[in-house]
Symmetry: none
Subunit: 206 residues, 4 copies
DNA sequence: AATGAATGAGTCTTCATTCAT
DNA sequence: AATGAATGAAGACTCATTCAT
């Protein structure tokens, strides 16, 4: 399936992946039929099999693009002068932005990963990257004495990842009614608090 | 469906629900065929429709029992003398215990709720009860001056619910490797910390 | 697929096998579609799969009946007083009769066995039984001194089996133009001759 | 199809026929897809139809070459001094050699001729040539008084053709376990015997 | 009530064949 | 001539649902 394609072939393949994205978002994974994808792409039924072997395979393509885009959004780091609370807020804002731009697709992956083992791995991998990063921060901050030394870093990182990611899921994929700025400030504040950081200056002057 | 059943009928209906629980747990919702349920129950194919109209309906029955049992587990309240941190730890432990005893089924509901709108409501309702309770606590504790007054209670409650429930999901349904006591103490401590409660006494004497 | 069937089920199954026989004979194995069989049987498309898993399986059933019937035809033995030439002629006549009554089906098995390994075995098994019997006769007759002692019995038996079975195939399945009595007398005579038996009395008096 | 080809075109056409031979031998007629042939030939999918209209047509080409080669092998005649038994043995040896060198293809034709009427004719034609020749011999030898005069020549020739050709089929295409020299001597001896020729000198001296 | 056979709509998938480049 | 993408008809197969007993 990864054969050398002509330009035309590559175009059709793209068209199918795009169409799949649209249809998956509209109907979910299970209710999407191959026919729906080719219809959306404006191709013949059989053309699907020129490029993909299964719904799973094209779903993988769709998700891999989503991942690419999210990774891009998440990779703008802060300079060296930022404070820990600034870093936390920055990371939270990035995560929320990334999630927001792809909420439908992330929710979709959530759905599929609970059904198809293959995608459970994809999802866990993403989470692993996210938690590994904050686990390192926690260890560093514990060494620096600014985070509660009794929290087991791996557990704490997982708990915080759950807090943020599942909040976003409930909010953006399950239609929770929240206001973006307040979400970011609250999650950031709770994240820092949870780690036992010294209280922030009040955001309310006076 | 299900009204005016003879004793025999009621027995068969129970048998089907029990069988459905077993099969759903084993195969997941999607891969469960009506046939699998009747086979597991030892009844004939067609008997299913005497009692249920669809897979969704019997799934609802299965889940409603799970809910009953979980509600029972969750309803042992603490006496009036307990401290906030004790209450938090107690609630956390209860939640973990409840989740643990029904992990498969909770994960199943998670899965199905992401697929079938009808069950999204069921799941949200459960979550709503959980968050409403802790939202009330937060308001009370804010009034008592022991919780960060700047946290919007509804947001904070949702965030904490996400932290605990999703942690349990990752741990118990997605095979995370964690140790129960450490989970409970860490989640409890982070919960209290996140709300800005005064630092707990160190668990390490001295 | 060999589950306990109700009388009704058994009847339907028979109906399908009968229909399959008709359709296979009419269209050959390859050009027979499952749909053709169910249409011939007057059942719904899906009913086929209640009883069989594949075209191969139902073909096996059809063939196994043919085998049963042929075995029956072939099993009338001659009494102990018959001469070797009488035995040969009797066997030849039986073979021709059996083949004739099932020519279509035998040709069909010929066809399928050249395509599907599973049925190659079935066909070879039938041939093995046939050759084994005549190999034993040859050995006995060689011991009695009435058959050319230099013929290797296994080879000779195979050659004679080929002569008779393939002649019948060409005649009855490939539309050769031959007259039955002359076929039987010629094949019998050649069979005996080939084994080096003493010349028969001429059938032409004088 | 196939007329007025440039040199380049002729080359491609050859390449396709060669490839078809390889693929047919490997996969049989039915399991050979047009795609397999073009892939084996290293040409594009669509090129096939520049030269052939169907799988049947290219199969015909393949077979016609096989026939050419076999005819060549079979056409070395014996000088005028050879005895009848020598002629029979020579013919048998030639047939076995020819069959052996093309066993796969002959078996293939056997297979296809039982499926596609068009090739039934091809196969019968080959057989007809073979039987016609031996029918003529039989008539001659009957006139010369060295062959059983009561055997109907057409029937006898057909029976002998069946004996030899089907033996070879079982041996070389269906994996029978026989030793070449013994096959040739046995078939030759039985052929002569079957015709009622005077007993050969024993091959065992003394 | 229970049974299990019957049904057929809905999908997937293959592959010969056509067609634009 | 060559290419390989595009097409869609044809068939296989599943399974929820109905129905006769």
């Amino acid at each position: 399936m990864g054969r050398n394609l002509t330009a035309r072939g590559e175009r059709t393949r793209q068209r199918l992946i795009d169409a799949a994205g649209v249809v998956f978002a509209r109907q979910g994974f299970i209710d999407t039929k191959i026919t729906d994808i080719t219809a959306e792409a404006g191709s013949a039924n059989g053309s699907f099999y020129t490029y993909f072997e299964s719904k799973e395979e094209i779903f993988g393509e769709v998700i891999s693009r989503v991942n690419d885009q999210m990774r891009e959004t998440l990779d703008h780091r802060l300079g060296p002068d930022a404070s820990p609370r600034e870093r936390i807020e920055h990371a939270t804002r990035q995560y929320v932005d990334a999630y927001k731009s792809q909420a439908m697709m992330v929710a979709l992956l959530e759905q599929v990963s609970s059904i198809i083992p293959e995608f459970r791995e994809v999802r866990l991998e993403t989470r692993r990257k996210f938690t590994a990063r904050s686990e390192r921060s926690i260890r560093r901050w514990q060494a620096e004495g600014i985070v509660d030394p009794e929290l087991p870093p791996r557990y704490a990182a997982a708990a915080l990842a759950s807090m943020v990611s599942n909040f976003c899921y409930m909010w953006l994929a399950m239609d929770g009614d929240y206001e973006e700025d307040l979400v970011i400030s609250t999650l950031s504040r709770m994240w820092a608090n949870a780690l036992g950081m010294a209280p922030a200056e009040s955001t309310h002057p006076g």
